[in-house]
């Protein structure tokens, strides 16, 4: 801890300024001006973040500083505008600003022809601001502000095409589902306040120093679980993942930035940040791990049956987040963060690539209408290839190392988790390569396949129409010819591709001849059961090598299946699906989870709020009270108006009556006696 001031507040505020400028004056700006402003401030933020990170590492982390004025002071509870730079937040800040900047650049090209250009970039900058606030906050409360802020930004951006009902609904869905998680987060914070009377990280964690892990179910476990509920909401874990796939209604860069790279990882970051709490709550950890692996496999299976390219990626995001959750659950926070970083790279790359594809096909999102794009859009093809192999977990790409780390730590913790993880890895590589083959190989089926109406894809044509309309105005490309994207879109793809290739090398575990830099870098910021003195299983390199082999094998198997089904014998899938039709439809319909929710929760809730709260409480009781008050006063006024006849004698009569009353009072009760 040192007292030199890094002015960390500048990092989040820069995008805020950009957002303000664009939001307030952007309407009058030209698109060039708007994008210039947005990029300038984002880049500045990135640059300053880099500088701050270097300074911080030189000065020695963690670096904790607060703005000179208080924010919330209630009694002896004090929440400052404080910023906290340690290894963890350094990584997060760099990822957020870096990837964010790249996606900004990409968006300039992608959104060039959409309406509300300035609105889009204003929202995007706003998101950056809140996200940076989230990761830089030095207390849970400020973190929560960022937490809610990114929720808001995500809502705004999902509903960016607010003329489209499905988009607006998706926005609302995301917002509401997140509310549930936020509720848990809030309760967790209340517990923290109750226990430590402070929400500052250092205060809480110092308060926790020397506390041994809870054996039973105690306050810490409850806190951890509540925080975890928040995390499941934000990071789209079972059972609150349902909002993420629908969030794909937003523009693709948004999906890349918010719903793949950064925001959805906030939950992971929060758990890692709260590692001192979680590591002292073994039961909570178990539950986290369980939820994580459940989400992973669940989403993976669902991903297999999707035909909308972005939805496939959405489900893969969910399942990757499940990985990270699992990592946190087995107290391998560093592995989780590691995977978070690499995932940020390759998932952003995937989304942007998909966006490029969609852009190329003039808004088409259904993979069954794609194919054979390999030659038509080579750059996109190659970067997508890199990304696909990365996520599938082929060495030496980054995805391999991070995922392998997670699986290894999972095995050390509980072999079942490991098994599920491996199966998930297999499925992942399968559906990713399915996407890959369907998109880039074979021949273009644009417009040929007529799609049987699927409930969850009813909106796809709408979006295509919308994007077509958006793309169609005034320029030659559109449905016409499939075309490569402009370089302003491709450049970020290339950079991300390089990152996803090399990004993993910072954390190669010793067993694989590396020196898991990343883990050691993060170690001081995290508290694991080991640091609390739990027994550390002997991890000899050979076994880890074996496990690495197994996961690679899984990836290969997935690749082979995909190759067989979607390249060699494209007719097979239909036969198979025909045979296991029941299962297929169930999977295709995402296990009817949405329907189940709507049946179990939403419909009753709607009914309740409609018939009880709205018609009943609101209209009858509350409105009744208000209107009753109004009408009552009107009635009284009407009554009293009769007194105000303007006739002096009647006034005099009232006066006389009042005098009589007063005199009577004074005679019998008042001073008269």
């Amino acid at each position: 801890m040192n007292d030199t001031n890094l002015n960390l507040w500048i990092i989040p505020v820069l995008p805020l300024v950009g957002a303000a400028i664009n939001g307030l004056f952007g309407r009058r700006f030209k698109n060039g001006m708007v994008s210039a402003v947005a990029l300038l401030f984002t880049a500045a933020s990135f640059a300053y973040a880099v500088w701050a990170a270097i300074q911080g590492t030189h000065l020695g982390l963690p670096h904790n500083e607060a703005l000179p004025f208080p924010w919330i002071v209630a009694g002896n509870f004090n929440a400052p505008f404080g910023f906290y730079l340690d290894q963890l937040s350094t990584v997060m800040v760099l990822v957020v600003t870096g990837v964010g900047f790249l996606i900004h650049v990409y968006s300039v090209g992608y959104m060039a022809h959409e309406g509300g250009f300035y609105r889009f970039f204003s929202y995007l900058n706003l998101f950056m601001f809140f996200m940076l606030t989230l990761v830089l906050a030095n207390n849970y409360l400020l973190m929560f502000v960022g937490w809610e802020g990114v929720g808001l930004a995500s809502y705004l951006l999902i509903g960016f095409f607010f003329l489209k009902d499905s988009a607006a609904d998706a926005g609302k869905k995301a917002f509401i589902v997140n509310r549930i998680g936020d509720f848990g987060f809030l309760l967790g914070m209340f517990l923290l306040i109750g226990k430590f009377n402070s929400l500052n990280f250092d205060a809480v964690f110092n308060g926790l120093k020397g506390v041994s892990p809870e054996v039973g179910w105690g306050v810490l476990t409850a806190t951890a679980l509540l925080l975890m509920v928040g995390a499941t909401g934000k990071s789209a874990q079972v059972p609150l993942y349902v909002w993420l796939p629908d969030a794909m209604e937003g523009p693709t860069p948004v999906s890349a930035l918010i719903h793949a790279a950064t925001m959805v990882t906030a939950g992971i970051y929060m758990i890692a940040r709260s590692s001192p709490i979680f590591s002292r709550a073994p039961h909570a950890l178990e539950i986290v791990a369980f939820i994580g692996c459940l989400t992973a496999i669940f989403a993976a299976t669902m991903g297999m049956a999707q035909t909308d390219i972005k939805r496939v990626l959405a489900y893969s995001t969910v399942s990757q987040l499940g990985y990270m959750f699992m990592a946190c659950g087995v107290a391998a926070y560093s592995a989780g963060i590691f995977h978070l970083m690499t995932h940020a790279f390759f998932k952003a790359l995937l989304f942007l690539g998909a966006g490029s594809v969609i852009h190329a096909l003039g808004g088409e999102q259904d993979m069954r209408r794609m194919g054979g794009l390999r030659t038509r859009i080579p750059v996109t093809f190659w970067v997508m290839t890199v990304a696909t192999f990365t996520i599938a977990g082929f060495p030496p790409l980054s995805g391999f190392f991070s995922k392998d780390e997670i699986l290894w730590r999972a095995y050390l913790n509980n072999p079942v988790l490991w098994l599920v993880g491996v199966i998930t890895a297999l499925l992942t590589s399968f559906y990713m390569f399915r996407l890959w083959f369907m998109t880039f190989f074979g021949d273009l089926r644009l417009g040929e396949v007529d799609i049987g109406e699927d409930a969850h894809k009813a909106h796809a044509p709408v979006q295509s129409q919308h994007s077509a309309a958006a793309h169609g105005h005034g320029d030659d490309h559109g449905h016409g010819g499939v075309h490569e994207s402009p370089w302003i879109m491709l450049a970020p793809l290339v950079i991300l591709a390089i990152l996803s290739i090399v990004g993993g090398w910072v954390g190669i575990p010793e067993a694989l001849g590396g020196s898991s830099h990343f883990e050691h870098f993060l170690a001081p910021a995290l508290v694991t059961p080991e640091t609390l003195g739990a027994v550390q299983q002997a991890a000899e390199g050979s076994t880890e090598l074996v496990f690495a082999g197994i996961s690679v094998a899984a990836a290969l198997t997935g690749f082979l299946f995909a190759w067989l089904l979607y390249y060699k014998r494209p007719e097979l899938p239909d036969r198979i699906t025909a045979r296991i039709h029941g299962i297929y439809t169930m999977v295709a319909h995402k296990y009817y989870v949405d329907e189940g929710y709507s049946l179990l929760l939403i419909k009753p809730l709607l009914a309740l709020s409609k018939y009880v709260f709205w018609r009943g409480v609101d209209q009858q009781i509350i409105d009744g009270t208000v209107n009753g008050a109004a009408s009552a006063s009107r009635g009284i006024g009407n009554g009293l108006r009769q007194m105000q006849s303007g006739n002096i004698r009647s006034y005099a009569a009232w006066v006389a009556a009042g005098g009589v009353a007063v005199i009577a009072y004074m005679i019998w009760w008042g001073v008269g006696r």
Binding site: S645, G646, N647, I648, R649, A652, A653, A656
Partner: protein, 100 residues
């Protein structure tokens, strides 16, 4: 030897008659007179109590009442004249609107 209460009762009767005159008369000037009547009734009780307590303050207060009554009469009659100019009536039942 007259008990003081006789005087007081007389003043009460005068006052009540004044009140009822105020309530029942239509002519605004008469209503003013009713007010004067009430004041006189009160004055009588003042003087009676002054006699009872052997305190002249009561009589002094009567002077103040008279002064106020005179002032009120002057202003009130001026108002009556103004009202009569605008409405051509002295009947308070016809002077019950704010607008002309």
């Amino acid at each position: 030897m007259v008990p003081l209460s006789w005087y007081l009762v007389l003043s009460a009767i005068l006052f009540c008659l004044g009140v009822s005159a105020f309530l029942l008369k239509r002519n605004i000037i008469t209503i003013f007179m009713a007010i004067e009547l009430m004041l006189n009734g009160v004055n009588l009780s003042f003087v009676a109590f002054a006699n009872h307590w052997h305190q002249l303050s009561g009589q002094v207060f009567v002077f103040f009442v008279m002064v106020v009554a005179a002032a009120e009469a002057a202003v009130g009659l001026a108002i009556i004249i103004a009202v009569f100019r605008t409405r051509e009536t002295l009947n308070v039942d016809r002077v019950n609107l704010l607008k002309l």
